[in-house]
Symmetry: C2
């Protein structure tokens, strides 16, 4: 069966690993940072800057209303953010139309909702995520335990705000997903094998 | 791999069907109402009464403290409830020790936590549960739409209270389960095939 799979994930839960392994097992495309690269190409913005926009929900400026006419405040930063969201939306839809694929993050579950993707959310206990982040940290990583715990929470808070901003829904709310997977005690190999079967 | 699977489920979500199909596919025992029958036999109470106790969290009576000594108020109903919980605990542990099995409801995920079962929670949208209840209703069922919607909510509220009473945890909180399955859009056949793979 042809299938599009979207994966939302808490930071450090192993969602990206599940995504890559799943795409490999199903022999379909996998998209994650490729989306940022493509947006950067289309908007002429630096990848790092696009990434920042996509990880943080912007402070929106409400238009000033005079009579029945709207005069939105001109704000270059907001305009850039909007063009990034616009390109992201188009690129994700193009990718999903081209072939079956796994897309990690980026509100793809919502952007592709009319295509009924298998919507997966990956999460884990705080302790598991902390340990996994330590194990996967690049060499020379110097965060203290306290800093790392704060960092994990901050990334998830930003993801939640961004998801809420784009979709108007609560990030991680089970009703927005078809399957929610807790990686705390289940080996990723078994999880992927199960998800493959659900897609066949 | 030998496995115990526990299934928590919202009323009308199809959790019981997933449980029976999963046990059949894995060729392992399935326990649900058998537990009530066994408790009734051991406690000399009517099955219907045991069922009532297990679906409702009791109003607990706090012991009266005089100085440093506790004098619990004697209450035959509370004593009966306690013996039902006690027997349920023992029966579930006996079942899990005898062979691999699927156990639906009854806080089995918590009672068997030291055995690391695959803890599944099955849920669905209110509309899906309403439709499924209508489809599966016994002939002559006469609840109005409003009554049925209220009934579904009431059963889930009782399950949540009972789970909280026995485990001290929030029913349906994803962190208490390994896999949460939304049956709203996914066919039960595919879900079961996926869960079978996760247990192999």
């Amino acid at each position: 069966m042809g299938r599009i799979i979207t994966i939302g994930r808490e930071f450090g839960s192993g969602g990206r690993e599940i995504g890559t392994r799943l795409a490999e097992a199903l022999k379909i495309a996998y998209y994650d940072s490729e989306i940022v690269t493509k947006i950067a190409q289309k908007t002429d913005l630096a990848e790092e800057y696009v990434h920042q926009i996509l990880e943080r929900s912007p402070v929106t400026f409400l238009p000033i209303t005079i009579g029945q006419t709207f005069y939105p405040m001109s704000d270059p930063q907001l305009e850039q953010s909007n063009s990034v969201y616009y390109e992201q939306h188009n690129i994700i839809r193009e990718m999903a139309e081209k072939s079956d694929c796994v897309i990690v993050g980026r509100c793809a579950d919502y952007i592709l909702r009319d295509k009924h993707p298998l919507r997966v959310f990956v999460y884990a206990s705080s302790e598991f995520k902390f340990k996994r982040c330590r194990e996967k940290a690049p060499e020379g990583e110097s965060m203290s335990d306290r800093e790392l715990r704060r960092h994990i929470k901050a990334v998830d808070r930003e993801r939640a705000q961004y998801y809420q901003f784009i979709t108007g829904q609560k990030w991680g709310n089970p009703l927005n997903y078809d399957v929610c997977i807790n990686t705390t005690e289940s080996p990723i190999k078994e999880i992927v094998a199960g998800l493959v079967k659900m897609c066949e």
